[in-house]
């Protein structure tokens, strides 16, 4: 009896597939990362809850580093140009990304914003994500390093409540440290909670308001920037050594 060439009516068949739902984001993140690596630009993704002091930290950072590095800031918010305007007051380029109703940035938004930026003329690209400790954790933007702020006004028990964010970040900044005398926040308890999630995560205590702790933060940034440049030098050396111009080698992905 010949085998049927079509399934019997009502027969059920299953097919295994593997379709990553964030494939479009990851493709765009890779394109961003390759663009940064090509020009030796350090790209940071700054995440935190809303109101934890990201913009003030960035204002103080660009004021301190603008004569040393060519800087651009991408500001993610649901609405208004307010944060970009605060950065521009320091004479630093800032592009506002308004997300409308979306509570996080995605890599295609970065690609779109970069159409207005000459990346070849940059040393440092800082992305301020939308204030939210949940969704931004799941979206790679193509950054070299992720920095997460936790304001002392938020409570020292947050890291284990938001494990994905603290698992995915490279540096924790305990911000608004000048308020420590006024709030029931234990720096030791916060650091222990961070390390319960990721034991190797460095933690810095910073007050952008008074300047306390800014020096170690700026030193960390300079180190990261040196690493970004060293990565580019390593990528470009073989191209100089040979007469043929080979395609840019694949850049290792940070995340």
């Amino acid at each position: 009896m010949p085998q049927p060439t079509v399934p019997q009516p009502g027969a059920v068949q299953g097919h295994d597939v593997s379709i990553a739902l964030l494939k479009a984001n990851d493709w765009a993140a890779r394109a961003v990362r390759e663009q940064m690596a090509r020009h030796g630009v350090l790209m940071l993704n700054i995440t935190s809850s809303a109101g934890s002091g990201k913009t003030l930290l960035l204002e103080r950072t660009v004021a301190a580093l603008k004569d040393e590095f060519r800087i651009c800031v991408l500001e993610g918010d649901l609405e208004t140009e307010r944060d970009a305007e605060r950065i521009r007051r320091h004479g630093v380029q800032a592009v506002q990304i308004t997300t409308g109703t979306t509570c996080h940035l995605e890599a295609p938004m970065i690609l779109q914003a970069l159409e207005r930026v000459d990346v070849s003329q940059l040393d440092l690209l800082i992305v301020e994500n939308v204030g939210n400790l949940v969704c931004p954790a799941g979206y790679d933007l193509g950054e070299q390093s992720r920095v997460t702020l936790l304001a002392v006004t938020e409570g020292d028990d947050k890291p284990r409540k938001y494990p994905r964010m603290f698992l995915s970040t490279d540096l924790v900044v305990l911000s608004k440290a000048d308020l420590l005398p006024h709030v029931p926040f234990s720096v030791d308890a916060a650091i222990a909670d961070v390390h319960a999630v990721k034991a190797t995560l460095p933690v810095q205590v910073v007050s952008a308001h008074t300047g306390e702790g800014m020096a170690p933060w700026l030193a960390w940034l300079r180190d990261q920037r040196a690493n970004a440049r060293a990565g580019t030098a390593a990528v470009q050396l073989p191209a100089r050594a040979t007469s043929a111009a080979p395609a840019l080698p694949a850049v290792p992905l940070a995340h």
């Binding site: 079509v6 399934p7 019997q8 009516p9 009502g10 027969a11 059920v12 068949q13 299953g14 097919h15 295994d16 597939v17 593997s18 379709i19 990553a20 739902l21 964030l22 494939k23 979306t102 949940v134 969704c135 954790a137 799941g138 890291p159 284990r160 409540k161 494990p163 994905r164 698992l167 390390h195 319960a196 999630v197 990721k198 034991a199 190797t200």
Partner: protein
Amino acid sequence: MHEASLAQQIATSVAAAIPPDRHGDVRVIRCLVGELSGVQPLLLEGAFAVVAALTPFPQARLACEAVPTRVHCAPCDGTFAPVHSRYACPQCGTPSSDVVAGTELLVSHVVYEAPATAPSP
């Protein structure tokens, strides 16, 4: 997180991945949803039920399988499940945040049903 837009993405991705003449036969779309993905499986299934009528698969339902978080412990050469976000091996106490499962967000399987009427021979 964003269950409604993810439900749309599932429909778009599956539509692109399977032959158009089989779209109407899709009955079940299975997804793997990691505990750390930020997506709630029940909400995603509910969101898909709402948007299904607008997709090429009006008769399909979404079935999500939650994937528990597993973390690799190098000294034990095994994996463990973190409890209340404590990323340290319960056997040897070594901290590890080497997540090997739990961040998945993917379509893993599509189930078709052949048309009720057989094609003419």
